[in-house]
Symmetry: C2
Subunit: 585 residues, 2 copies
């Protein structure tokens, strides 16, 4: 069936919407693909819905190809299973919670690990039933603090979430790799430019995890990569390449100095460069020679708070995201005045390893602080610092922590070159969850040896509605949207740009021929001027535009490629078959 | 792609689930189509989801055929538009309400009139853009007081809801009739037995409305019909056929009698039959000769309560549903002791029209109480009734109300015969809303004459997930489910019922041939016994079952029709093509 623009529920907008920040958002609104209903809530108008459904279809086909079976769970879910895994609480304000008429607690599902685990437990009881890969394409809810960029980060959105169930770790690895490859095939069909980055599992739990990030300057996720080796990782997942430990042999004794009013790294470095320290003869002291100790408190499982000190080279800040990921799932907070008052040994601005360890504070350091490295750091007394304090000799931390910021130029963990940072949009995330959720629900089946086996799980997500925005973001140009053929709302956009009734009939005929050949055709049969129609065609972004215009009298129509801008004149008589050939080649 | 039962996520159950009340619910659970997650919340397992999607597809095709354009609105909706139409309040406890992290109010959409009206108002501004028919297939939420019968009445469910927009009443009528006919085509393709009944619009507002009720003994809706004329109506919508008014000429004066302790109709009738009343010489007095006055209070728009008396013949009860529909949208309640204490003229058990009218109580009567009818009714004093009180002569009510129960044998409003009642399940509802919602949002467009025109709306719903249960309910037999071909999860179910490897290979070959012919095939390749496989095939309800069994050695397979039970033997060599012919004939 040909879609006629004279009847299509569509009004394109000339101007960018006032509140739109990123190109995909502006264009999807201007081109009439989506409309806002509330913060992070969007309606899909006919063109947008067509693209959304096509993304779903690509995902569905590739999920079927790895043996995924589609099911559909409710979005409205009872509290109990999320209480069991503690996610009812852990999700914090990101979870939409509500009560029903009887006062029972419900939530709008942000992801469905709990329910899939329970569903499989409810049906299957023998190792023979596995491996099992289930998925759904379903509407999800997250009460984002800052819903932004239209459908890029909405509060109601469509996801494909799949879950694998296996009786052993080898099965989980197979499922993980099958999903990884299926995702690569999907993104390739969707013509998305992306990188796969190592990630940390965060609140989801589990061991291995990778993110698929679409490369985009408007992305909220920063990742780093090594151009030499191809290594890429989420900032949270970057593992610091530590220097080799040094022998203690020739290192001078640590000496405490009166450093005056030097509570910051800058003032301390300034003092050191004026102090004529023998260790630094002939070179300048920098922040990297100092050891900064950041004090926190973390909440223990029992609920009490425990002091934690994080030591990092003075030239680096502690990165909140990396710290949060490294501490996960522990809750942490900065110290308040009361904490300092209770712990009088903490000399603000002059805190050093010796005082921390002597007072039983848990002390974790950056991996660069290896045995044999010497540091200028606090001497636990106002106005005093110690110079030449050697790790492993003068103090032994409780362990290391990946909390220091990652910087462009830092060495790649694989040692192949420097890291550079880039921005991306998370479009997929795959997790080897292991037994976190099956433990919570005691999801056992009878094993081959007659004994119960605890199932092991993977979880794999793709943002379906977000993908529409990502494709728009990566493919658009200054004229408007441009859709890859796999997801284009139509295969061809036939524009009647000639007022002769004859040309109108001819254009409709070509559209009809293409339709009969199985193509999806949009026909601009409106009474508007050719100029308006061309602008709209460019804005809407159907990949092939057929113009029935001035050439009609000479028996010619024009075929335009929306991506390259290339235009070819083709004879009217063979137009449909030539267009068909161009579109399907 | 053939679906193999050895891999399909499915476990059938031998026993009915404990809490299942109706056959469709029992069978959909036993056959592994759906699983409960909470009250009124269900997961769709692979077979159920296939049926659900097929119902959607039939509906989608018929909506496209009447020019319906598909869009998709959020389920999570801001409060404001529903506040404007007062439905935020009117929905009462049926609405799921929640707050977001900023404390703003949201709801889970039970139906989308408000948002569609706003969407159209946002896009279109000229009469030239109309008529317009939009629809969505979307997940809806209602916090039902008694979610029941599985997916027949869930709290999260899939609906197709469409909305028509026109600039004049003729356009609305066209849209209404187009939907009516599209629904008839859908239900015919889905092989649902149904009736179309006149309905009242209720909280939706608007004028004309009809319901599509699937005939079913487990239905919650009672409707009546006249077998002679084909008239059918929802009980709420039945219009009483009033008797002709009578002249007052020969009617005797009303006489007040001491009737003793006669506060009920039964005691009053007993008294009357013993009282030798001249009007009833030669016949027995019945409840139908008495006039019963039921006292209520209704809430006025301002919020205050007002007394209302409803007069009905004494042999009929007031039907709550009919009363509610007739009073809609007014809130009403029965009188409490305080109300009686405040209104001392109300003599409980002896309330009559004269006292009510003399004291300014609003008084509505059943349409049977026409001018010239004489009644035995209360005389507004304990122990007293009046005999021969004539409507139109001795009292003039404020109007009529359709609140009395409808009974089998009552005359059809069209006068063609008696009404009989039956039970049904609401599967569709079409409304001529008119301007209720466009008035609320001032949805005007520029008319042909340059002046603003207020749009007029229709609203049309179909329960998609409910339809799966309705089809199961109407088509099942004692062995299990039976699916019409339009919605069957598979076209053919090939059962390997012979342990020979040769038969197994042959069965798989037939399944493969059918698959290549474009059919959807379920292959039972499990190691279970033939008996278990046959039972499962009957339970699952695929319309055609191919058995590769004992006949294999003789070059025969069996084709069974799940509906008729008929079995034919066909030669293996031509099996696929013969099966294909049978399935597509």
């Amino acid at each position: 069936m040909i879609t006629r623009m004279s009847e299509l529920f569509l009004r394109t907008l000339r101007d960018d919407p006032a509140d739109a920040e990123v190109p995909s958002h502006k264009l999807l609104i201007r081109a009439g693909y989506v409309r806002p209903v509330g913060p992070g809530l969007y309606s899909w108008l006919p063109l947008g819905l067509r693209v959304l459904r096509k993304v779903e279809q690509v995902v569905r086909e590739e999920m079927a190809a790895i043996g995924g079976q589609e099911i559909l769970l409710p979005a409205l879910l009872p509290r109990a299973p999320y209480e069991t895994t503690n996610r009812w609480t852990e999700y914090g304000p990101n979870l939409f919670r509500l009560k029903d008429r009887r006062g029972n607690d419900y939530l709008l599902g942000p992801t469905h690990e709990e329910l899939f685990a329970l569903t499989v437990k409810g049906e299957y009881s023998s190792y023979k039933d596995f491996p099992l890969r289930l998925y759904q394409i379903q509407t999800k809810y997250r009460d984002e603090a800052r819903p932004r960029a239209g459908i890029l980060r909405g509060r109601e959105f469509v996801m494909k979430d799949s879950y694998s169930f296996d009786v052993d770790d080898a099965g989980l690895k197979d499922a993980y790799h099958a999903h990884r490859e299926a995702y690569q095939r999907m993104f390739s069909r969707l013509e998305v430019r992306y990188v796969i980055v190592s990630a940390v599992s965060g609140a989801m739990g589990g061991s291995a995890s990778e993110e698929f990030l679409a490369e985009s300057e408007v992305g909220e996720d920063t990742f780093v990569r090594c151009l030499e080796s191809g290594y890429a990782a989420n900032v949270e997942a970057v593992v610091t390449r530590p220097p080799a430990p040094q022998p203690f042999d020739d290192l001078p004794e640590a000496v405490v100095h009166d450093t005056g009013d030097t509570p910051t790294i800058a003032t301390l470095v300034e003092w050191a460069n004026g102090a004529d320290l023998p260790q630094f003869a002939g070179r300048e002291v920098t922040g990297a020679d100092t050891l900064k100790n950041v004090l926190l408190k973390t909440r223990l499982p029992g609920g009490e708070w425990e002091l934690l000190a994080v030591g990092v080279p003075g030239d680096r800040e502690v990165d909140d995201k990396r710290l949060g990921a490294a501490l996960d799932p522990a809750e942490y907070a900065l110290l308040d005045d009361l904490d300092f008052a209770k712990n009088t040994f903490l000399a603000k601005g002059y805190i050093g390893p010796k005082g921390l360890l002597a007072n039983g504070v848990r002390y974790l350091v950056d991996p660069r602080i290896v045995d044999g490295t010497a540091w200028i750091t606090g001497a636990d007394e106002k106005g005093k610092h110690v110079v030449g304090l050697v790790a492993g000799r003068d103090f032994v931390p409780d362990g290391t922590i990946e909390a220091a910021e990652v910087r462009d130029g830092d060495p790649s963990p694989d040692g192949m070159g420097p890291l550079v940072s880039a921005r991306g949009i998370e479009i997929g995330h795959i997790f080897q969850l292991g037994r976190k959720y099956t433990d919570a629900f005691a999801a056992d089946v009878l094993g081959e040896n007659g004994k119960p086996v605890r199932l092991t799980m993977g979880s794999y997500g793709i943002g379906i509605s977000r993908m529409v925005a990502v494709i728009a973001e990566q493919q658009h140009d200054e004229l408007g949207l441009r859709w890859p053929s796999a997801v284009a709302p139509f295969d061809a956009h036939v524009v009647i740009a000639n007022k002769d009734e004859d040309a109108r009939v001819g254009a409709t005929g070509i559209a009809g021929d293409l339709d009969r050949m199985g193509l999806e055709v949009l026909l601009d049969d409106r009474k508007s001027s050719p100029g308006i129609k061309f602008k709209d065609a460019e804005l809407l972004g159907v990949p092939w535009i057929v113009v029935v215009g001035r050439g009609w009298a000479d028996g010619k129509v024009e075929l335009r490629n929306r991506f390259t801008g290339a235009t070819t004149e083709i004879p009217v008589d063979t137009a449909a078959s030539e267009i068909f050939a161009a579109l399907t080649s």
